[in-house]
Symmetry: C2
Subunit: 383 residues, 2 copies
Amino acid sequence: MQIATSLQQIQPSYLREILAAASSEGVISFAGGLPDASSFPMSLMQQSLHNMADKPVLFQYAGTQGYPPLLSYCAAHYQLKSEHLSLICNGSQQGLDLIARAFINPGDCVVMEAPSYLGALQVFGLAQANILSVNSNQQGPDLNELEQCFRDNQVKIFYAVPDFHNPTGVCWSLATRLKVAQLCCEYNVTLLEDVPYRELHFSGESLPLVSSFCVEHSIVLRSFSKFIAPGMRLGVVSAKANWINALIKVKQAADLHTNIPMQALLLDILQHPGFATHLVNLRKSYAQRYAKMAALISEKLDNFCQFEPVTGGMFIWLSIKDCNVMALAERALTLGVSIVPSDVFYTDAKQQPSALRLNFSHTPLGQIATGIDRLSQSIKDGD
Amino acid sequence: MQIATSLQQIQPSYLREILAAASSEGVISFAGGLPDASSFPMSLMQQSLHNMADKPVLFQYAGTQGYPPLLSYCAAHYQLKSEHLSLICNGSQQGLDLIARAFINPGDCVVMEAPSYLGALQVFGLAQANILSVNSNQQGPDLNELEQCFRDNQVKIFYAVPDFHNPTGVCWSLATRLKVAQLCCEYNVTLLEDVPYRELHFSGESLPLVSSFCVEHSIVLRSFSKFIAPGMRLGVVSAKANWINALIKVKQAADLHTNIPMQALLLDILQHPGFATHLVNLRKSYAQRYAKMAALISEKLDNFCQFEPVTGGMFIWLSIKDCNVMALAERALTLGVSIVPSDVFYTDAKQQPSALRLNFSHTPLGQIATGIDRLSQSIKDGD
């Protein structure tokens, strides 16, 4: 039996391969996008898990949209407009996939930042979208390029990660947020705002959501993977009711509904009195790891690489001029450190400056120096 | 933003609407396909749930294929060939959807039994398959019709529910199993064998899987929803490695992987010393409910309806001649009992004899008589 045409166009994921290798014994992984398992709020789960065995109703079939008390929490906590709805998904990745299936016909134009999140490239590739790229800078997407792209094409969706972007770590400026929202309204483009890293600011407060400036032209994708735990596979999509109802129709065919016990557990964690402290500690821990990695890069790699400081998230984007980063990644792996080469984050990497994505959330503080030493050695080996 | 063309063709699910109405206070539901929540093996979960809070590794990102110890259990328990693989999904519904996405191009021929499982009709509709129907009898699909259909069309997949079929409750005879397997091999059709009710035989043993007679031409979809608990949303697809690898590629884009804590919980239940007793009790309870409902139908509806006895599963298929069953279902609902009219299980209901699907697994033994009385009244009201 031949596989479908849409799937034949999807390349095997390089990231999946490197992640498999990166999990080998002794390899320090700066490659994945994994949170720190020792940060998971296990103590906030204890009572909830214990009580679950007395609640058979959580194990019965349920509505497609999600566990009603969790939906109520989302409506209140995210201050959704009364005519907007949420849908609970198996991680925000499923939300993304449902959106592509519900709204994208083959050939429809989807704009993405370059570089961009690999999982989104896969989803829109599978939907056979026409993916257009817009370059990014330290404030977010290049606004002139974005406007030109909106003007020259019939764009359906602009997919963006404005808070601590994956892979660059960039957090869009307020001015960029306002302008992007205005352009989406003007050109009738739906902003798909993906904010998995939003809670991971090292200090201060979050900037307003871009979608808060273009509420009726946007869909927000939230994830609980990065600040609670990814193995639970929970995310939520919010938008106006007729769009969410279209997603519910696809979700029903896709898997009926998201598992209920995990939704109930998630709600208990979010409402636990200790949850605020969990967030404070998580931010402090990631800020420490980032500071350590940033200092070591400045100290050991200053001759080869540059990076812009980040104020949150999980990643450092390390520019490294005129380098075959695919070869470097392989060399680094043989020396016991994994990183992700920039090529995998572009639809067309040839025209792009070379860089590496380094994750700082997963490696214990005490191992970061060894990892950077190994990376330094592998860069010098290629010199 | 316009919804995609593929979704525009999907009708809103009648079943979803009637199920919503059926959950109203005071309505006795023979409509859904729900297992009995009081049968869920909660006591087998207690220790596992309690220990889970000490296992942060279960809450981390994981491989797309599934929780490795559960995959090993499946390989051993289902006696898979060494070159075959399994993939853990969010219920067998997701397995079905992944198969359609991985293998079906718009216009590809998929054969289904008529009547057929609604969720499969939705999935193959969304994939824009050319759905062909073959009529069924008490032994399974009509074999002459099936062979003619295979001969006249380039059929890619034959989707079938051989064990206690939804909606008819039919369990295919051994002769039919052998012949269907032979036809699939002869015409190079992939058998998609969906067996969610397989464990629910009232007595004796299961017949061999149809796919056991055409292993290389088949994909098996298993579900844990009907004999453990559906809210966990867990199922498993098994087939030869290159087919499962295609599904893994789609699954990765669809939601990265199925949630891990529920997979670990499932494995603990399956390996619990009390699990065999749970199954025995479940079968006994469903056999009792079936016997009660069957006796009441014979007693109260004998003038209007006929049904063939079933030996397991969750459903009775009640033939009712020359009846507008959609109108009957509405009338029944106003009298406080919900049933599913046959029309929804056909791609073209006009040519088909009218019938009702009655579920006997969900309604407590003590309420079945009241439900049948109400149904009897609503049939008489329409006379």
